[in-house]
């Protein structure tokens, strides 16, 4: 058990570690930008996987935690000159706290009702922020150029933001591994398989689900702060895009839900594919429709995702992929 713990869980961390170092050594702006997007989705998909893959609850509106936490963190950086790290932590904390409050109410809902409720929450948050003065209402917020000076100007600030995101991505993968290999994670997986039976076996499902929801909401809040800081502005239309939630779900399903490696593999593959779709004139306007069809095909033919499929077919890999 020990050796499996080591390799299967270290592999994703090692890949991201090397990948980040490689981007830093190369030092190219376009490479940094594309990697930023990929890391962001790895972080988003891996956090959502803690709820979806381990606990079995589908959150369609998960992007609300990216949007709202990101808004709050960005507000602290741009309006109160807070440093980026504490601001993104605050953004994560807000998202986590919100999930904690919501969890008590909406995690009582099962299946489709929960999924629908999360969409409602996202739309409600968008409406709220659009009318909330301190967050700039419908026009949103901008970062003052002076805020970049603390990082040595706009260019270096982008590299710093990238490094922070890289670290957050590593922490998300670490958290995902720790949850999966822990007693807490076993309880979550029992809930996923049969919530009532799990409770009869002693799993405190309401509390465990809420904690899982909070963890899966915390990291998107941090990532949102970094993303908006990199962009230099935030507005309601950017922060609460439901289709980003759906894309994160596709990534998880594609790579293999309930695994540590799957969401990462799915994010990388999907981003690569999307890059192609967006540059191909035929698919450009259809890329969301294509990803919808894609999701359908995955659910119908490889419901366990790529990692699940490989683990099932080649028993040897069970020790290597988690």
């Amino acid at each position: 058990m020990k050796t499996r713990l080591r390799f299967g869980y270290l592999l994703p961390l090692a890949i991201i570690l090397v990948w980040g170092v490689w981007v830093l050594l190369k030092g190219e702006d376009t490479l940094r930008e594309t990697t930023f997007t990929v890391f962001m989705f790895i972080g988003m998909a891996s956090s959502l996987n803690i709820l979806l893959g381990y606990t079995g609850y589908v959150s369609f509106g998960h992007i609300v935690f990216f949007g709202l936490g990101g808004y709050f963190g960005f507000y602290l950086v741009s309006q109160h000159n807070l440093a980026l790290i504490p601001a993104s932590l605050a953004g994560g904390a807000l998202s986590g706290a919100l999930a904690g409050l919501l969890g008590l109410a909406v995690l009582r809902l099962r299946g489709a009702y929960f999924a629908l409720a999360t969409i409602g929450i996202n739309e409600a948050a968008r409406a709220f922020v659009s009318n909330f003065g301190p967050f700039g209402g419908a026009t949103g917020l901008f970062v003052q150029f002076s805020a970049y000076e603390a990082y040595g100007g706009a260019g270096p600030a982008l590299w710093t933001t990238f490094i922070y995101l890289w670290l957050v991505t590593l922490v998300v993968l670490l958290a995902s591994s720790l949850v999966k290999s822990s007693r807490f994670g076993l309880g979550l997986m029992a809930i996923r398989e049969d919530e009532d039976a799990a409770m009869v076996m002693g799993v405190k499902a309401p509390r465990a689900k809420t904690i899982a929801f909070m963890i899966s909401a915390f990291f998107p809040g941090m990532i949102g702060t970094l993303y908006f800081f990199k962009n230099g502005n935030v507005e309601p239309g950017d922060a609460f895009q439901l289709h980003m939630s759906i894309e994160a779900l596709v990534m998880i399903m594609l790579g293999g839900m309930g695994t540590v490696f799957g969401p990462m593999l799915g994010a990388v593959t999907y981003q690569g594919l999307r890059g192609y779709l967006l540059t191909s004139p035929i698919f450009k306007s259809l890329h969301l429709a294509v990803s919808g069809v894609f999701l359908l095909v995955i659910i119908l033919f490889i419901p366990a995702g790529v990692v699940g499929w490989i683990r099932h077919r080649i028993p040897l890999t069970r020790k290597l992929l988690e």
């Binding site: 058990m1 822990s182 007693r183 076993l186 309880g187 997986m189 029992a190 996923r192 398989e193 049969d194 009532d196 039976a197 799990a198 409770m199 009869v200 076996m201 002693g202 799993v203 405190k204 499902a205 309930g258």
Partner: protein, 248 residues
């Protein structure tokens, strides 16, 4: 010492009276058989005992503590474990992990490592050790029944609720399962078992209670109960069961 005291427990589903004033006691170390025709309320009684349903009336006292209305996970942590009538394996987890859930979250709240070694012991008792690393979904029905039992045992409960663990097993599997149940009792665990296989209940139970339309209609030693006219009458509605009762 009385491990379990059930006092005037009543449960209604809408207009249906599933349990009416059910009262009985279960001393530590005994096997109590619970029999009754289909729909008598046996499974409902288990659901009340382990907190799935709160009763409309009445109390459940476990080891001197009133546990009426506690949520199922709090009941589990006090030492009541259950094997379901309809098996509910955690399909995508291995057999070992299924049993570890019981150990980690049951009475003793074990760490993962302790639960894993506890699971080995329990799987050996029920004869599933060679399947430990398979997914639970890959087991056949008889094995799934054993897994239900193993999972309940994994939590090292004081009281084990067995809901028709013999149903669907062939005679040799039944014999093996009964042997396992005797072993469990010898290990100091008190058992309340629902069973339709009459011969089996009569053989292993110290005492038997009979439910019919939610009421306790008889209680006593196995041989007293089978000869009770009320019991025979209750079963007459169900020819197949009457046959079994007479054969037993």
């Amino acid at each position: 010492m009385m491990l379990l005291q059930v006092q005037e427990v009543t449960k209604r589903f809408g207009g249906l009276q599933a349990l009416s004033d059910v009262t009985f006691e279960l001393p530590e170390g005994q096997i109590l058989g619970l029999i009754g025709p289909n729909g008598a309320g046996k499974t409902t009684l288990f659901n009340v005992l382990n907190g799935v349903f709160a009763p409309n009336k009445g109390r459940v006292i476990f080891r001197g503590e009133d546990i009426t209305g506690l949520p199922p996970y709090d009941v589990a942590r006090r030492g009541i474990a259950r094997a379901y009538q309809v098996v509910r394996p955690l399909n995508d987890l291995t057999v070992r992990e299924n049993v570890m859930v019981g150990g980690c979250f049951g009475r003793e709240c074990l760490s993962l490592g302790q639960a894993a070694s506890g699971a080995e012991e329990v799987l050996a008792v029920v004869g599933l050790l060679d399947r430990a690393d398979q997914l639970a979904s890959s087991l056949n029905v008889a094995q799934k029944k054993r897994l239900e039992l193993a999972r309940a045992l994994g939590s090292r409960p004081y009281l084990l609720l067995l809901d028709e663990v013999l149903a669907g097993l062939n005679p040799s599997e039944i014999a093996a399962m009964l042997e396992t149940i005797q072993k469990i009792r010898a290990g100091g665990i008190t058992i309340l078992m629902i069973e339709h296989v009459m011969q089996a209940v009569m053989n292993v139970s110290d005492r038997v209670i009979v439910l019919d339309y939610g009421q306790v209609i008889a209680e006593g030693l196995p041989e007293e109960v089978v000869n009770n006219p009320l019991v025979i009458e209750a079963y007459l509605g169900d020819p197949k069961l009457t046959q079994r009762l007479i054969e037993g």
